[in-house]
Symmetry: C3
Subunit: 144 residues, 3 copies
């Protein structure tokens, strides 16, 4: 098993950041040929996921997930007790981010074959910032 980690900085409140090449670099550095990579982020208002890196699609994904768990709960006739408890702290108005991170979870796992991530043609790996901008960290384990 080979272990590494990296940092990144999000620049928007909600932002989908492509981390495919960073994970590919770690797999290369590991020298392992067959196995899998496990990426994990130690945050509760962000998560990792996998889909297609298409600019319009990423906008659609952000907009439609925020439709399900909006930053402003009044839009769906809901309320966020967590936001209310910390109503004086602007950095804690992030219940939407906790809800979406609970649904999506902080890890992804991808097979490795012949020393490379075995992604499908259209797949990219993403860090999904749900309450930025912030400095974030991703832990990586390569098993093989």
């Amino acid at each position: 098993m080979f272990r590494d980690e990296f940092s990144l900085r999000s620049r928007e409140r909600v932002e989908i950041i492509d981390i495919t090449s960073r994970l590919e670099g770690i797999v290369e550095k590991s020298g392992l040929r067959d196995g899998f990579v496990l990426a994990y982020t130690g945050h509760v208002t962000a998560c990792l996921t996998i889909n297609e890196n298409d600019r319009e699609l990423l906008e659609d994904i952000k907009e439609n997930l925020l439709r399900l768990a909006p930053i402003d709960p009044h839009l769906v006739n809901s309320r966020y007790r967590h936001n209310e408890k910390y109503s004086s702290m602007s950095g804690e108005q992030n219940t939407h981010a906790h809800i979406l991170a609970t649904l999506m979870k902080p890890s992804i796992i991808v097979p490795i074959e012949k020393g490379r991530l075995r992604l499908g043609t259209w797949q990219s790996l993403f860090f999904f910032e749900l309450d930025g901008p912030r400095s974030r960290n991703v832990q990586v384990q390569v098993w093989g």
Copy 2:
């Protein structure tokens, strides 16, 4: 690889139960220093997830996920064929739980470093009961 499992009992219909210390105990017992822990629950109306153990937040998460897949489908102008099929069985009025468990899945995986779960500052590990109260089981594997 070290294997263990544990039981728990939920006390409410929908309940988020912190299992961090139970998983930490198993990692300690394993004696493994570096790797990951895989937790898996063999149920179809519950799941495992990761987020922050804040009382108000957990209420928000439950309420807002049940807004997306409510116990009573009429609230969203939907219907649940599964509930209708078993309309005489009060224990089977749980389609909402199946839907949310299908979205969230029954496993979590967390890195281990120096013999400890490498969780972020605010992360806790949860058993998410979606159709309690019931006796439940969690299987655990520690790899390292």
Copy 3:
């Protein structure tokens, strides 16, 4: 580690296909007794998940997830830029599928004990087609 893969063909636009016996067959072929199976699909409009194989329930799951991210975004007063960009391509009217696959992700992981998947009584493993009919592929690794 033992590696294998298999193909399948979906026959509907949105379809939940039971792949439990195919994964069980691969675990048997591997000869491994204890560990886990990792299944991964290299697609961005499909995913893997776990729940109960009940015909009415699977209809409920499809219908209610499509209620959250409908094929036609106007039903929820949303729009899909990705569909609009490719408005002349009937095969690219699939933003709903990308959104749901981003939420659910392309992998599942299940413990193995005594040479068998250690599933709960009601659990089945599913390939979840979100934009069929298509030919699809699932990669499998058995660790033990």
